[in-house]
Symmetry: D2
């Protein structure tokens, strides 16, 4: 099997595996010639949501369904005329992923969209999120004669659809999705219909857009609408199914209503700063977190420096609120990629230097505030602090634009287990000593909610903030069954 | 021939071919096991100076000289154990390039370092700069029986060395370099010597560093010393040859002295912001240009936004001087690469959107100052302005952190001919109208010199600023012979 | 999708697509370390049965099932240590194929062995033959909720097994195979069992061998036992299932008994000459066909030349019986491969010359008997005749070592439809005129049966000879349903 | 560096490295559109003369010279439209090689044709043979300032030409070739001239052909004329230079006359059996060697079997002379390629079985005469004997269709040193015992000369037979200087 490159985790993160990883970005378009080109562009704009692999399925009359799935970047796989002409038609959907739940080794058969031929025709499905009862469903389906081809939880949806006795694909889809638990935003397509669905809590985003020629598109984020010049129509609502056809949009709400629980980490880290979610600019929300952070945790210093690039908006906000000058104290190497050979002790452990370099002339003798978006394992924070001190900084103050990350996510984000989450193992003061910095402070839960436009965190919280609070809105059945986690409420 | 990817021109530039392109970065190391690993790391840090191709030559007793030259990024070509074990030894040098003068189609034989076997042993040469009399030398050498294998001007140096009657490689190198004209920083290596040379005017940079184990290295910029933890010793002086061996450093000045003419565009655009040149931080110089720009050309506005990423330091300076808030009004897609397919009129001309997206929620209704490092062809400036206006900006004011670029460079930078340089064809007011912005202003020559630490531009200018002034310190013999340019002084 | 090379059809055939193509070779081994290596070697020896693609599945405790499937030759895909270490374990099976029934474009998901996870564990299946009711079964299975992942008829067996209520994989396999019609030799494997099955008529071959260490193997032909030094134990009987485990061999006969119908074309063309089938040397059988041919159709001539390489044994027999000297009148280029570019009229139609060249000095002025194994479309026979005449032969006499091929095969061999079978469209005399040769003769059905060790063709024929006689032992349900053929008995 | 496949040495040899290896095949064409296509086809027909690499150079007005050089087979490298359109023009020449003298590791820069730009224009050179004074020339040229880019002896010719003061390329070529010693057939091309030259002794072949459109071609063997339908005009004479242009053929004899010394091993092994050399069919010559062998060394036996494929013609002759039936006792696997993994002792040493298999049913209990073309190291002969005895042969008699190979070749063939030549270390009886066969006999020198059409070997031998006799027609200066050989006459 050809090697799978060691991708940087996130375009706005220079720290490789010391970050949560979003699992997926999804995009679909219909009613436009060469729809797959629009999907490729949309997925390129969503590449930060998944860098490991991508796939596109299209349908054209006379040709049928076509599928290309590849490891690697959209720009490398879906840009040549040779590839794109394999994906003809006016309807297409696609997927970029980091990795699907349950996958140990990457295999092309796990790359979405998944496709199945039902008695009434073919259907492709691309899924962002995670099904918390997938293992249980899989065991039951195999027992009844279904053959699984992938390790993807998404395949459960397909087999549930195959066994539904409904006559149409949208109806089979409702049947299937009523059986699954967890968080999902799904884009599906048949020969004529582009379908978008969000779970009842609306944990993952899904946006509806209109192409300049009148066709429709669905995307994880608004930045993917911008790239193709599509108009942002509205968000698909929690619990809603929209069906886009030549005749327009059809909406239904097939699931039992639940309190809304949009993932607050989408604001804090995952989404692109130029996206708009829930009516708020992601960039502006992050800048406001920086403002809150400066209010809650002021400190005297000479410079405010972001950890590039994900800490940048909050650092700008911190600088504006505090009046301390903003500066690029750390420069990111834009050509980073696979890990370099490090055969001698002398050049070992230089990993982070391949990606980041301190602006030595600037930092020397200065008291520096470093603004970062989050602390997960803490491994990179330490290396960055070392670099800053090596360069001669007088003091280092860490300011973190999210609350302490104490709990793993089970709704479509790849986070470490609790024992590897620094904030699950230490108090803030212990963390400060561990990191070896002059001060360390996190924004409060309420501060974060304020930056997100809420007055404060409500009793029934307005977002899913389980990674910070441990309050899981959906019980993660499979992982509890596997003994992989003990919930706060079960303690 | 396998396709050569369409590389982004510069890590701090999101505009493809609408920028001058540096032709080379060079790096050498000696006195350290697995020297080629250090060279690979150094070249990775210099990747912004040349993205098309790279090469490394090493020497190990018993093995001899080894060479690997490849199209593409350092991170993709010089990271696998398979490749690096082909480059054994304690001395190595390497090169990244955009393209060498004279090359029409890229060929691997043009990728440096070039290597030749002389009677007294082998020698590899990596060259940053451009020889202005290469064509004349080549014709003469062919006439006398030399066989050229590449279209690289660097090969002239090799053939001149082969024909020298001196007994040692450094002496032959002096012989050869006394015959060439133009700008050059050269790293050469024999079995035991790592040699660095700069032309008498010192147009291109060359830095001397010391490895933590006591070995030596040479690099185009200090950022390449940082990545391997090497200590910055000093710059190689204009006109100096340094020879690094196990016994230490030997220095000589084999050329006739000339006024120093370091390339001011290295400050403005080419060098990495975290590099230090002539005792000045590149980042800080750019920030000060922003300060000068704000002083010289103030304007009322709501936001100061950089054109990412090369305009960022000047934008920070402009914001600090003017008091107008700094904001990320344009977000760069970090996964940009090859051009996408654009088969339909609907998605044509969206090139720039693949790389940049406007932060619409931020920009809407605002008066925006856009700070960019330079205007070359002006094609991208126009597209960016369109994007900003489409997003609903009330006003757009361009501020450029360099004087108008009016003349091509003949000293190792790939610039368009005069007819394609917007500032060579129009006044500033004509450019403003052409770009369709509310105002347009460039920093003055003196303002730029002040930011570079000079009081003002002297009668004998302290830098080579030919691209702005047309004052060429070395007559470009070949291009004048070819009728490709008419100099100001010849007008 | 990367290009699939234009493979030569058969190692003993130099004529590309003017030959029937065997669809598969299968091999399995158990009870030996690194079983996949034995499988790779066995498949290499069976490469003549399928050149388009190959796959191997292995099982190792702690690792589970591993699968590698690739387009191209075994020698190119299954020889590197990197690949083979992905296939650990003491049990493995594999497959080479030309193409599976129903496949229009080649896709890796159609490459066998196919694999499925059942409730009681995994199972891999490799299949040689063709199911004549696969389309009907597929429609029924989809209707009941099965999701097909390939266009292979073999997948029907897998889904039938998944839906069986039997508790063990061998019992589920019996359930499934009782539902299918047609010709099949199957090798399957579970974690501990290597299973071989032949259909009740025994159309396709399957051999049982014993490894030198006491382990067991199954193979399409004995030549694949020779390559690994395995002892030929016996043929798996028509209608038999053998299960090889650490404890030995277990045999059962789960299907209703049928008259034996081994494919006579295996003797005539498909099998390797060094294989032994039914106690007869394939080489010797072919030589004896040459003897029969010389007896039935003598002619005066100077030389007997084979059409290389498949005509060689019969040409030797013809020479021995007739006393006319045997000679290599046509030389085969051993480096043939993909079709060459033929951009000008001058070098067009030279296809066959890339593969074959006439030994001009030998042929000139001679009366030549050309012995070939069969005539299918007749296109290459004509080109060969042209080459021989161009070289100055005085006379050309074709002698064909099989009866006229008049009917397509539906049991696992890719033959043209009737309208493209020369012998289905013309009498022998018409064919002689069409080919433009001095004489043309085929061996008789009885002559072929005599060479195969029978006295004559019996009323209930001892072999399947449907391609010559039109007497199909199994009704080809799917193709009749699709109107693709009209049988002799239905006429 | 990408891996270089382990090529089979010779299409008519199944024994890998236990054979001498021809170093080159050359082909040129002019006066025909898309000349490079003809060159590709010609080189494909000459692939047996060199499998490691190949190259083609063409010239087209307005485009200039184009060159593509690649490792691997012609069929894999020079068949796609993409590659061939890189080689436009009406004149082209090419080269296939095993390896050039002096090359330790293969490098693309050693692949011919070599190309140089002289003052009067470009010139490409493809060379078959070996220069015996190349090392001495190289040292002298480097001393005078020439820079060598390859390890090929051919490059000496180029540098000698570059330094010639003659005004035309053909005259410079004469100058250069008068300075070299050894064996050479050279094809060169300029913008308008296709040039063929043979050394004065005519050791290596070179054929002149006429294309159907009136253009001209040059080729190592006539089989390369056949493939493109070219008429065989005549051999280029020893010591002759022919210049093919639009105006016809110009002939000259620029070298001092020498006794003719065509390589007799071309008849015995190198050339393709369908080629004609010196008016003799190579196939027929080999068959007659078999006849001589049967006369000189008769033996009672049941079967005459060739070692495929190079022993086939002599085996046919032996059978015809002796009356013992000819049979295919050994079958060759046509898909052999790289060496397989052999990780366990059980399957180790099975190398030869990957390529050859004994026809067990045929051999069992029989007295077998095995006819082979030559014995070099003897390693494979032993393995073949083992296979035959394992299969149950009663007796094995080796008959070799050449005299004992006792001396290395220095004229363009890669043979082992004397210590690795079995016949240089043992008497025939010792060899018989070493090989473990019932009898062993070689054809005599005179017998071989008779088969080649001579009455007997003359005092001044009619061929170069140094590999058998140790009588070297040209003193191998370089290897004597290096102490690599001690000649018979110097003993």
């Amino acid at each position: 099997m050809s090697a799978i490159p060691d991708f940087p985790a996130h375009p706005f993160d220079a720290r490789g595996d010391d970050k949560p990883r979003e699992e997926c970005g999804i995009f679909g378009a219909t009613g436009v010639p060469d729809a797959a080109n629009f999907v490729a562009l949309g997925l390129h704009a969503l590449q930060h949501r998944g860098q490991e692999a991508g796939g596109i399925v299209s349908f054209a009359p006379g040709v049928g369904f076509s599928s290309v799935r590849r490891f690697g970047y959209v720009r490398d796989n879906f840009t040549s005329a040779d590839v794109m002409k394999q994906l003809p038609g006016q309807i297409a959907c696609g997927h970029v992923r980091y990795s699907t739940a349950g996958s140990k080794g990457a295999a092309i058969r796990d790359v979405q969209p998944l496709f199945a031929e039902f008695a009434m025709g073919g259907c492709a499905i691309a899924h962002n999120g995670n099904l918390t009862n997938a293992e249980a469903l899989r065991a039951e389906l195999i027992d009844r004669g279904s053959i699984f081809q992938s390790s993807s939880d998404t395949e459960c949806i397909i087999h549930l659809m195959a066994r539904s006795i409904q006559r149409s694909i949208p109806e089979r889809m409702k049947d299937a999705l009523r059986r699954v638990e967890g968080a999902f935003s799904v884009i599906a397509m048949t020969r004529t219909k582009l379908i978008g669905v969000r779970d009842a809590r609306g944990v993952r985003p899904l946006m509806l857009g209109r192409l300049t020629n009148g066709g429709w598109c669905l995307a994880s984020e608004t930045c993917a609408l911008d790239i193709i010049g599509a108009e942002f129509v509205r968000e698909v609502q929690p619990g809603e199914m929209v069906i886009c056809t030549a005749d327009g949009i059809e909406s239904s709400f097939p699931f039992e209503a639940k309190p809304k629980k949009f993932c607050v980490f989408e604001y804090v880290y995952f989404s692109r700063p130029d996206s708009v979610i829930g009516g708020h600019s992601v960039y502006e929300t992050r800048r406001r977190i920086g403002v809150e952070l400066a209010k809650e945790n002021p400190v005297e210093a000479d410079l405010v420096c972001p950890v590039p690039d994900s800490g940048t908006p909050a650092a700008i906000g911190f600088s504006q609120e505090s009046g301390i000058p903003y500066a690029m104290g750390i420069i990111r190497n834009q050509y980073m990629g696979r890990t370099f050979i490090e055969p001698t002790a002398e050049i070992r452990n230089m990993g982070v230097r391949l990606k980041l370099n301190v602006n030595r002339a600037l930092i020397k003798g200065k008291r520096v505030i470093l603004v970062d978006d989050s602390v997960v394992r803490g491994t990179t924070s330490q290396k960055i602090k070392d670099m800053i001190l090596d360069a001669g900084a007088a003091e280092v103050h860490f300011r973190i634009a999210s609350p302490p990350t104490q709990w793993p996510c089970f709704y479509g984000v790849d986070t470490p287990d609790r024992e590897n989450l620094l904030a699950a193992q230490m108090t803030v003061e212990q963390m400060r000593q561990h990191l070896g910095v002059n001060s360390l402070a996190f924004v409060s839960l309420d501060g974060m909610y304020r930056a997100c436009g809420e007055k404060k965190r409500a009793a029934e919280p307005q977002f899913c903030d389980a990674c910070f609070s441990g309050d899981y809105p959906v019980r993660p059945t499979d992982v509890i069954a596997a003994g992989r986690v003990k919930l706060k409420q079960d303690a």
